[in-house]
Amino acid sequence: MERRDAALLRWFNDLAVQGIFTTDRDLKILSWNRWLELHTGRAAGVLVGRPLLQAWPELVERGFDQYYHEALNGQVRVVSQALHGYLLPMRGRRGNQSMPTMPQTARVAPLTEGREVIGTITIVEDVTERTVREAELRSRIDALDDARERAQAALRAKDEFLATLSHELRTPLNAVLGWARILRTQRLGEKEMARAIETIERNAGAQVRLIDDLLDMSRILSGKLRLDLRPIDLAGVVSTTVDVVVPSASLKGIALRLRLAEGLPPFVGDPERLQQVIWNLLSNAIKFTAAGGTVDVVLESTDHGVELRVHDSGQGIPPDFLPHVFERFRQGDASASRRHGGLGLGLALVRELVELHGGTVVAESAGVGQGATFSVRLPRHLLVPDPGSAPDDPLAQGAALPLKGQPVLVVDDEPDSREMLRTLLTLPGATVSVADSVQDALDTLVRCESHQRPGVIVTDLAMPAHDGYALLARLRATPSLAAIPVIALTAYASPEDRRRALDEGFAAYLTKPVDVEALITTITAVLARGAPNGGSPPPPR
């Protein structure tokens, strides 16, 4: 029996995946197992026979001597990792990583023989994996909590929005239904009849605008809103829109003043969308300005392009709300008792539409009661370059069209960029064809009758499958196409890129975003350099 016990103990000593050590009644170390030797780096041969608290003075410094005295008194003690970190200082390891201290839990218990306590036994366990797992779990729970809070906030915003939406949709419907019933059931005088119909029309119109706003926002959010860019008379768009809101301003007793700079250059934009921008800013200004107030609209040319300012003397914007005015569904006063209707979409739409035009919009207000100014800045690149033509009528005179009748092929895989180039080059009179890949470009060129063949090709450099360089090489390898000058238009803008492109034989090199004037000038210059149809090829590199 004793021999079997000894054998068992030896196996415990060697096989245990925990640290196990025992002491006698005087806390002298009796045994120190293999695991402990391995992890503390101290051999049983050195430790056995030594007083535990002298061999490990840290135990006393950290108050664990108390636990050993209590164990000698017959009590079991738990050493939890969360409270103590570890029992014995030893290096830990997780995967390949070494850790300065191994996280441990331990039990300190009396060793008894019958009723008598003859010593202590301590079992130490490495809980690295557990502590790491718990920390990971905790951070995942924290992340989930964050996500849930964000989702709840979004849900609240949506609920508020739906409540507002329902209110805003019902309000005009009330008027429409109410007056329609009166019309059906009552005999009205001519004046009242006219008023009823006017009210129905006005409210139905308001609802149409509401629904349009919603649809627009939805299109913008899904990336489906496209601008219908064309040359426009921006001043004309502004004054037309101002005319639309004059009645509501005068009804409220607000003075609406318009100042348009003279001789503004023509401009490329989507007239309906810009009208929407201006209308939203104006109705906002009128909505938040009391009777007797003023709304000023100024359109002027600046160094960077054009600036449209709508300034009102109205209730102003509190500083804490100012950063949020362009956020969707945000309203200064979202309470049920708010005085002003609306979905909180107008200004969000303004910002999106202006940004689609490459512009910016900012709101300024000195605070509540101080009025507000909204400034829309549209960049210069939207100005149509038309040397010599009358500024207000760029397309009327043939002489003003530097590329008139000139066939140009645009090659770009990115649809927006392609269409933008088509529009920009059509304005100065070019006949533009487009291709979305090198192969498409070659097919287009081959299909063309030679007299319709583009005199110049404008190509993007980076395209999937075959790039602009490949296009150039294929053209040079095709005798009938070899003479067509090719202009590289690329977002690669380093001097090395430029040198390489010119070395390879591109007629010119331009960078994106495209500078319209530079593009037209370059095309004109390239065309002037060599006769495009049947002329000499560009100089070899």
Partner: protein, 207 residues
């Protein structure tokens, strides 16, 4: 149903346990580096059959129980009973780290085991000293079960008449407070011995 105790027995028991609590609080403070206070305990005794009802009014839902069996001249079961909220809070207050749901937070379970161990041993140690007997304890075990399951496990297959001594323990650590209950289940013989000794102790104090 705590009428089993006379007024003076209750006072004496409370005082005795309060001394044990003082020791437990001191050792918890030393362990955690935070000042841990244990409020003066209130005690009541119930026949074991009524224990579920009595405790059920005090702790609800899933509970964490630290269980130690003690043996020697006096034998019985000692339990620290915390509700899930209290269990999580103890870990947070003592370690400063937020707890996970208690069932997956092994670290929290261990902290509760250590705290329960200190508290139960301090109280039973007082009884042992008083009775001048040596009480030995099993290794503390933590269970996450319903109160009914816990009580069934300590009462099963035991026909003898037994009583449960229920001690309300309220910890104060840093800015927070946690309530729990110590339940010491004793045979009627052990309880009688204890109550006699407690009264004797108080008489000696009074003299």
């Amino acid at each position: 149903m705590s009428s089993i105790l006379t007024e003076s027995q209750r006072d004496a028991l409370s005082e005795l346990i309060n001394i044990g609590f003082g020791r437990a609080a001191a050792s918890l403070s030393r362990l955690t580096g935070h000042r841990v206070q244990l409020e003066a305990p209130t005690v009541a005794i119930y026949p074991i059959q009524q224990l579920h009802q009595a405790l059920g009014e005090l702790v609800q839902g899933e509970i964490a129980t630290v269980h130690q069996v003690f043996s020697g001249p006096v034998t019985g079961d000692a339990l620290l009973v915390l509700d899930a909220h209290g269990a999580a809070l103890i870990k947070e207050l003592l370690t400063g780290e937020p707890a996970l749901p208690i069932s997956v937070d092994a670290s929290a379970q261990e902290v509760i085991t250590e705290v329960g161990n200190v508290l139960l041993n301090a109280c039973l140690g007082m009884f042992g000293n008083l009775l001048q007997v040596h009480v030995s304890f099993s290794v503390p075990q933590l269970t996450l079960e319903t109160l009914r399951a816990v009580l069934d496990s300590v009462t099963i297959n035991r026909e003898e008449l037994r009583y449960g001594l229920v001690v309300h323990a309220a910890f104060r650590v840093r800015h927070g407070a946690v309530s729990g209950y110590l339940v010491i289940i004793l045979s009627v013989a052990s309880l009688d011995r204890l109550l006699d000794a407690v009264e004797g102790w108080e008489h000696r104090l009074d003299r």
